[in-house]
């Protein structure tokens, strides 16, 4: 009898502890996310017509041809690189549900490279609070700056091999330019949730661990959003959203 009472008491305590443990887990945000996990929005981006040739800016350095050496054959060339799809497209989600989501920015710093008189990538999606590095990999000075409201900065001029960093705390669109080379431009998309992805070079993308709900999915291409849709995410479903531009 005594043993039975003791066993009963232990079981009661164990059940109580388990309930307490479960309740604690339930109110923790990460668990809440996991229990709602669905979880993937995936799809494919198809670019029907490359606009590289159309959009490629003509930049002729007419006034410094007799001032200083060029780096290679750049004088008459535009921003020479043609961007890969992975460098100029971003898929991201927006909704009221996602606004409240807390997420930690990554410890590692994403890069916005300066190479061949071009920023790489053309569009860089980051989570608010992320610090971006701007390494100069050209054999000449650049002067990276932005006058966009979410984050104004002017990094000044620095040589090959050096890098400067900027932390972006406010969500929004940050247009980045070079003060010396007018044709250089890029966009940093500072997002308020971690549900975004850049496609691979074949156009495939995937956003995992998306919370349930109705979200707006946006397709950013080059300098702007080119298409937005509504997507409903339910538990257990994997939504497929394809874009053609």
């Amino acid at each position: 009898m005594t043993n039975c009472t003791t066993l009963h008491s232990v079981l009661k305590n164990l059940v109580g502890l388990w309930v307490l443990f479960y309740l604690t887990l339930c109110i923790s945000p990460s668990f809440a996310q996991q229990t709602k996990r669905v979880r993937e929005i995936k799809g494919r981006i198809t670019i029907a017509r490359s606009d590289d040739d159309v959009a490629r800016p003509l930049s002729v350095d007419r006034y410094s041809t007799h001032r200083m050496p060029r780096t290679g054959s750049q004088s008459n060339r535009s921003a020479s690189s043609t961007y890969k799809l992975s460098e100029k497209a971003v898929i991201y989600l927006e909704s009221e549900t996602l606004k409240g989501q807390k997420a930690s920015p990554p410890a590692s710093h994403p890069l916005l490279d300066q190479k061949d008189l071009t920023f790489h990538p053309q569009v860089l999606p980051i989570l608010a609070g992320t610090t971006v590095d701007f390494p100069n990999r050209d054999n000449l000075f650049h002067n990276v700056f932005s006058y966009s409201q979410p984050r104004e900065f002017d990094l000044g001029r620095y040589p090959t091999g050096e890098s400067r960093s900027v932390r972006f705390d406010r969500p929004g669109v940050v247009r980045v330019y070079c003060d010396i080379h007018a044709q250089m431009n890029a966009t940093i998309l500072v997002l308020d949730n971690p549900y975004f992805a850049a496609p691979d070079d074949e156009g495939n993308y995937s956003i995992k661990n998306v919370p349930e709900g109705v979200h707006t999915i946006r397709f950013w291409y080059g300098r702007e959003v080119v298409e937005s849709r509504t997507v409903t995410v339910r538990s257990g479903d994997a939504a497929t959203v394809n874009f053609t531009h």
Binding site: P57, V60, R62, M68, G72, S73, R77
Partner: protein, 371 residues
């Protein structure tokens, strides 16, 4: 105006016809200026508060990867529209070491470059060496007239408004060394614009620039050519126009690091001048140095000092400078309303040495837009 527009129209049609990649861009600037009240030549509208504007249109067309056509049309207020730049450039003929350009363009002398345009000019005006008209014209002049012209602003500029001239140039890069060699119709002080220099002698220009490290470029240029206008009137002592040359040399520096920019240039020029009783060598030293610092995004301060110092010549047995030496300070602040819109507030103080010091200081506010 019709001629300018016609040339631009023809260029546009040609570029379109050849299926060239064409880009139209430009700059516009509007300003309010208040200078001192005096009769000095650089006083604006007799010292009355005045508004003004200028407009630059750039038309660039790439015919192939190695061939581009370049044009720059400029209008100053109600002045006639004119073409500063109309050239064909062929690049990479033998890699970056050999390129060729022909037409009307800025000669390879000095490092003014894009700072001649309002959005890239940290301040309002140009340095004295580009802007001030000396007492000496590019015509035959007497000793007395040269003396009387001092401070009147009716002669040549030391560097004629950025030296756009008609000619041909080869240029290129070998490692950190840059070279350019050009011939042009006019000289550095007397370009062929508007028939200002119509003699049949070509000006010869050579330039070298070296970049020892990123952010620092040191350059130098020299030019020689006949500068007198060919009016058909015989020159004194039966000499030819080709006997009267302008010889000019300059060194320049460009340095930048972080948010600091520095540019400077020093020029020495000598003219052989046919005075009524003898040939004289007149010379001038000109210089400027300008700096800009960006304190935080959008906002900068800039300052420039520039000066001219003239050689001496005998007038009635007394040695005098053939024009008044000048020293000028220009300082200002600039604020970018957006990437392509700049507003500047500038104050310029000019000191004319050795003569009457006319009041020609000025204050200006300028809005400049690039598009």
């Amino acid at each position: 105006m019709k001629k300018g527009l016609s040339i631009l129209a023809v260029t546009s049609v040609l570029l379109t016809y050849t299926n060239a990649q064409v880009r139209l861009s430009g700059q516009a600037a509007a300003y309010g200026v208040k200078s001192d009240r005096s009769s000095a030549p650089r006083v604006v509208n007799k010292g009355k508060p005045t508004f003004g504007w200028r407009f630059d249109l750039f038309l660039d067309g790439r015919v192939t990867d190695n061939v581009v056509a370049l044009a720059n049309v400029r209008v100053f207020e109600d002045e006639e529209i004119y073409i500063d730049y109309l050239a064909i450039r062929i690049t990479d003929i033998a890699g970056p070491a050999l390129n060729f350009q022909i037409g009307k363009f800025d000669m390879p002398f000095g490092n003014l470059d894009e700072r001649r345009f309002p959005v890239k000019n940290f301040l309002f005006g140009l340095p004295l060496i580009y802007e001030y008209r000396m007492s000496m014209p590019n015509q035959v002049i007497t000793r007395a007239d040269l003396l009387n012209n001092r401070g009147r602003g009716i002669g040549m500029r030391l560097i004629d408004l950025g030296i756009y001239d008609i000619g041909a140039m080869v240029f290129g890069d070998v490692g950190r060394l840059h070279y350019a060699a050009a011939v042009s119709n006019g000289t550095i002080s007397a370009t062929s614009n508007r028939q200002m220099n119509n003699n049949n002698d070509f000006n010869k220009i050579v330039r070298l620039a070296y970049t020892p490290m990123m952010g620092l470029t040191i350059g130098g240029a020299g030019a020689i050519g006949a500068y007198l206008v060919d009016s058909g009137i015989p020159l004194p002592r039966n000499k030819a126009i080709g006997d009267y040359l302008q010889k000019i040399g300059e060194v320049d520096i460009e340095f930048s690091r972080d948010r600091f920019l520095l540019n400077g240039e020093a020029v020495y020029s000598e003219w052989k001048v046919p005075l009524e009783d003898e040939d004289a060598n007149l010379s001038v030293i000109g210089y400027y140095g300008e700096a800009k610092y960006t304190w935080f995004p959008r906002f900068y301060t800039a300052a420039r000092v520039s000066g001219l110092r003239f050689s001496q010549l005998y007038f009635d047995g007394v040695k005098r400078r053939w024009d008044y030496d000048m020293f000028e300070i220009e300082a200002g602040i600039g604020y970018f309303l957006d990437r392509n819109t700049l507003v500047k507030l500038v104050r310029r103080e000019t000191c004319t040495l050795g003569g009457t010091d006319p009041h020609d200081d000025l204050t200006a506010i300028q809005f400049a837009v690039a598009f």
